[in-house]
Amino acid sequence: MKRAFPILAVLTALLLVYAFYEALWVAPMERTMGDVQRIFYYHVPSAWTAFLLFFVNLVASVVYLIGKNAKADALAAVSAEVGVVFCTVVLVTGPIWARPVWGIWWTWDIRLTTTLVLWLIYVSYLVLRRFSDSSQTPKLAAVLAIFGALDVPLVYFSIWFFRTQHPQPVIGGGGSIDPRMLHVLLINWLAFSCFAFLVCWWRYQLELLQHDLEEAQALEALLGAEGLPATSARARSPLNKTPSRPGTV
């Protein structure tokens, strides 16, 4: 995978450029909104990607709670962080799109509001991970992820009903979509998904490095006083795939 990374990065960059070109020049102009509607090709794929990443986080959290698998926890941490980044993009591009089209920055639009609550839940998840004692973080974070997942359908329902009582403009439009626009949308989604995958992979390397460093520091503290080397720490890391001796973990 390490060797494939530069190639994949270049391919993804090219795909992103192509998707950008399609969004701005190839996609037909929308009748009522004009060119501003092209924000759609960045707003919607970012939302889909964010939701996918949060789903990955949920699965990784459950897997961690069942098997205490350190890799699952690392994946949970990574997907939450990258998910929040994409979610931020959704929350920023949404109002930027709403303002010229509907004259207002915000509305209790069901998708945008659900995205906001998801963003809040996952920011609190990241704060918990940052502030908690590192030996217990995986377990606490996994539990919070489950609570968040249980909350989302309730959020959706409550906003849905609220909107039937207090009608609000719908941001993002509903209804059927022109097949040419759908094509551009899917291209952008593919490009952003590949981009998200690469960012996650790189961020995962950071997690590995972090664990590596912690193991080394712990061993240094333990053995440093006796003058023994601490370099065998890496072999014992639960995240490391290649053990120093065959048959060991």
Binding site: D35, I39, V92, R99, R203, Q205, L206
Partner: protein, 41 residues
């Protein structure tokens, strides 16, 4: 045609957000690598 500015703003904002995040990951990565190197000596 003023609404075009919003289109530019949205696309630029998207990449600024991604850029800031990638920058922070890069900074953390370099810092950890340096710390690991110092420890390994």
């Amino acid at each position: 045609m003023n609404s075009i500015k919003f289109l530019y703003a949205a696309y630029i904002a998207t990449w600024v957000i991604h850029g800031l995040y990638l920058g922070s990951v890069l900074r953390r990565y370099n810092r950890l690598r340096q710390q690991r190197k110092d420890l390994g000596k």
